[in-house]
Amino acid sequence: MKIVVCIKQVPGSNRVSFDPITHNLVREGMAGRMNPFDENAIEAAVRLREQVGGEVVLLSMGPDATKETLHDGMAMGADSAYLLSSRAFAGSDTLATGYILAQAIRKIGAIDLILFGRQAVDADTGQVGPIVATELDLPQATFAEKIQPLDAQHVVVNRDLGAVTQTVQLTLPAVITVRAEANQPRYESPVAIQQSLTKPLTTWTDQDLTLDASRIGQAGSPTIVRKVYAPEPTTRAAKPLPQDPKEAAKALLDILQAQGLL
C-alpha cells in the first residue's frame, strides 16, 4: 500500500507575527513544529505499512525550514518526503493549498491512500483534506479513529463524529483525516533520527508541477483575512465556597443572584 501523508509545519509557540498587509502568518524564520494531529496521521500510516507492507511518503508545502518537520516525520518511520516550496505558493489559502497538494499527489502517482491530521492547530480549518479529495475526485472519510485494511481495494474506517460513530467502507484510492484518538504516536528513536537524514527528500517548486497560475498563491485564494489580532489575556478570580454543602449551596445562590443569572 502506497500512502501519502500530508503534513504541515505550525508555529512552535504562540509568539507569532502576521504580515501587516496580507494578514498572513509570517513563516520565515519561525521556529516550527509538526502539527500534532499530523503525528497521528503518520502513526496510522506507519502502522498500516507494518500490517500490509508498502511505503509511506510525506508531503508538505512551506519554506525550506519545513524540511526539519519532514525529517521528524521520517524519524517516525516514513520512507521518503516531498517538500513543495516556492515564492509562487506564498499566500495560498486552503483552496489553493489543496489544489497544489493534489497536483503534487498526481505527480507522485500510484497512490492508494492519502492521510491528513484532522486539522492544523494554527488555523483550525480542517479543510485541506476534503479539498484534496474533491480535487482528485476521491472518496473521503474525515475524523477517523480507526482504519482497517479490508483487501487490496478497500479500507474500513470508523469515524468519530462526537455523538455517533460511523463505520464506512472506502474504495481505494481514498482520502482520510485522522483524529488524535486514533493512536498514540511513537517517539522518534535515536537510531531512526540518525537514519532520517539519509532518506530521500525531494523539493519541488511551482516549475516542477503542472499548475494553473490563477489557482495558486494569493491569486488563487478567495479567502480574505480582514483582521488578525491576539485576544486580550483574560484573568478570572476563583472564589472558594464553604465546606458545608448547605452553606455552599446558599453561597452559590447568592452569587448567581448577585450576577443577575437567576
Partner: protein
C-alpha cells in the same frame, strides 16, 4: 557561547525533552515515594531506544557523540534524575567495553546493549574509593577464569543484565571481567534503600564460581584500576550533566513559585532575599554546565578529560545540594514537605557527592594533577 547542534542532535534533544515531559517527569515524585520505577517505565525507555544513543552504529546503535549524549542526560535529569542515572550507568559500562573489549567480545555483547541494560560493579563493603580494599577474585582455570565475590551499590544493580566487575587477579592486581546474569553462579542480592535517586535500582550481585572465557577479560590482566578510572571519568561527565539538570528543575520550580506566592502584597520573587537565592541557583547551575560541557568537549576531541570530569562532579554535586537547599527555602514549609519535590531533589543531588568517587577523592585527584604540573 551556545553549542551549535547538528540537525540529528537537535532532533534527539527535542525528542528527549518531549519524552521526559510526558513519560518521566509526571512520575518523578512517585518514584521518590515508592523507591521504584513505575511499571512499564523501563520497558518503554528501552523500546524508544534510549539505550542505543551513544552506541556506535556498527553495533546497532545511533552513534551520537559524548557532548549531545550528556546534553540529553541533562534534559532527562530535569524531569527525573533517577532515570538519567540509570542511563548514565548503562552508557559508562558500554563505554568501558568499547574501549577495552576484544573485537570478538564487542561483536558478541554490544548488539545486546540496544535492549539489555549494562552496569559496572566496583564497590564492595570493604572498598569503594579504595579499590585495593576489594575482596572479589578471579582465579585462572583452563581456558578461562573463575569469579567469586560480592559487589554492592551498583547503579542499575538488580535491573541490569550485563555487568563489568572489578576483581583481584593477584594480591595487588586488579582486572575487569564482563559477566551476564544468565551465567551459572550469578545471583542478585538486596536493593539499597537509599535516601535519594530512589527510582534508580542500586543493588548488589553475588558471584559464586562464575566461569567466564578468556575473552570476557576487559583489557589486560592488571589493567583493572585504569579501566575503573576511565569508567569513572566517563560517568563523572554525565554526573555533571545530571546535576545541572537537577538544578534546572529546582530553579524552574523555585522561580514559578516565587512568581505565584505573595507576601506583604507582593510576589515573593520581587524580594531581594528571594532573588539572591534564584541568582545563586542559576550561577551554580551554569558553572556546573560549563564544566561538564568542557569535559565532554575534551572527550569528543580526544583530549585528556579526567580532571575536568572530576571538577564537573566535585563542583556540581555540592553546587546542586546548595541550589536545591535554596529552592527548598523559597518554598519554605512546603519545600520541607515530601508532598513537594524539593526535598527529594536535594537528596538526589546529595547522592552524587558520594557516587562514582567521593568529592574528597575528586579534590585529591584535581590537586595531584595540579601539583604534578609544577613538579621540578
Amino acid at each position: 557561547m551556545e553549542r551549535q547542534w547538528t540537525e540529528p542532535e537537535q532532533m534527539l534533544l527535542r525528542m528527549a525533552a518531549k519524552y521526559t515531559d510526558a513519560e518521566l517527569a509526571p512520575y518523578d515524585l512517585e518514584m521518590a515515594h515508592t523507591n521504584r520505577y513505575p511499571d512499564g517505565l523501563v520497558e518503554k525507555l528501552i523500546q524508544t531506544g534510549f539505550l542505543t544513543v551513544m552506541l556506535p552504529t556498527e553495533y546497532g546503535g545511533a552513534g551520537f557523540g559524548p557532548e549531545v549524549t550528556a546534553a540529553m542526560i541533562e534534559r532527562i535529569a530535569k524531569g527525573s534524575a533517577s532515570v538519567a542515572a540509570t542511563l548514565e550507568g548503562h552508557y559508562k559500562s558500554v563505554d568501558a567495553i568499547l574501549k577495552y573489549g576484544t573485537d570478538a567480545l564487542k561483536k558478541a555483547l554490544l548488539p545486546q546493549a540496544t535492549h539489555r541494560i549494562f552496569a559496572f560493579g566496583m564497590t564492595e563493603s570493604t572498598g569503594g574509593s579504595n579499590p585495593m580494599g576489594i575482596q572479589s577474585t578471579a582465579k585462572r582455570v583452563a581456558g578461562g577464569w573463575l569469579l567469586n565475590g560480592n559487589k554492592v551499590m551498583i547503579t542499575n544493580g538488580t535491573l541490569a543484565e550485563v555487568y563489568c566487575v572489578l576483581v583481584k587477579t593477584g594480591e595487588q592486581e586488579l582486572s575487569v571481567f564482563v559477566v551476564d546474569n544468565s551465567m551459572p553462579g550469578f545471583s542478585f542480592g538486596k536493593r539499597e534503600d537509599f535516601i535519594g535517586l530512589r527510582g534508580t535500582p542500586i543493588g548488589e550481585i553475588f558471584l559464586s564460581d562464575v566461569r567466564v572465557d578468556d575473552d570476557h577479560l576487559l583489557g589486560r590482566v592488571g589493567q583493572g584500576g585504569a579501566i575503573g578510572d576511565h569508567a569513572h571519568d566517563d560517568a563523572r561527565i554525565l554526573m555533571g550533566a545530571v546535576l545541572s539538570g537537577i538544578m534546572q528543575h529546582a530553579l524552574s520550580l523555585a522561580a514559578k513559585y516565587a512568581n505565584e506566592r505573595t507576601a506583604l502584597g507582593t510576589p515573593i520573587g520581587q524580594m531581594q532575599a528571594i532573588q539572591r537565592k534564584l541568582a545563586d541557583i542559576k550561577i551554580n547551575q551554569e558553572t556546573t554546565q560549563l564544566l561538564w560541557e568542557r569535559a565532554a568537549y575534551a572527550k569528543a576531541q580526544g583530549q585528556p578529560y579526567s580532571e575536568l570530569a572530576a571538577m564537573a562532579k566535585a563542583h556540581g554535586s555540592r553546587a546542586a545540594v546548595a541550589a536545591c537547599d535554596d529552592a527548598l527555602q523559597v518554598y519554605a514549609g512546603y519545600g520541607y514537605s515530601n508532598d513537594y519535590p524539593l526535598a527529594h531533589l536535594m537528596l538526589d543531588a546529595r547522592a552524587l557527592e558520594i557516587a562514582e568517587g567521593t568529592v574528597e577523592k575528586m579534590r585529591t585527584a584535581i590537586a595531584q594533577a595540579e601539583l604534578k604540573k609544577e613538579e621540578a
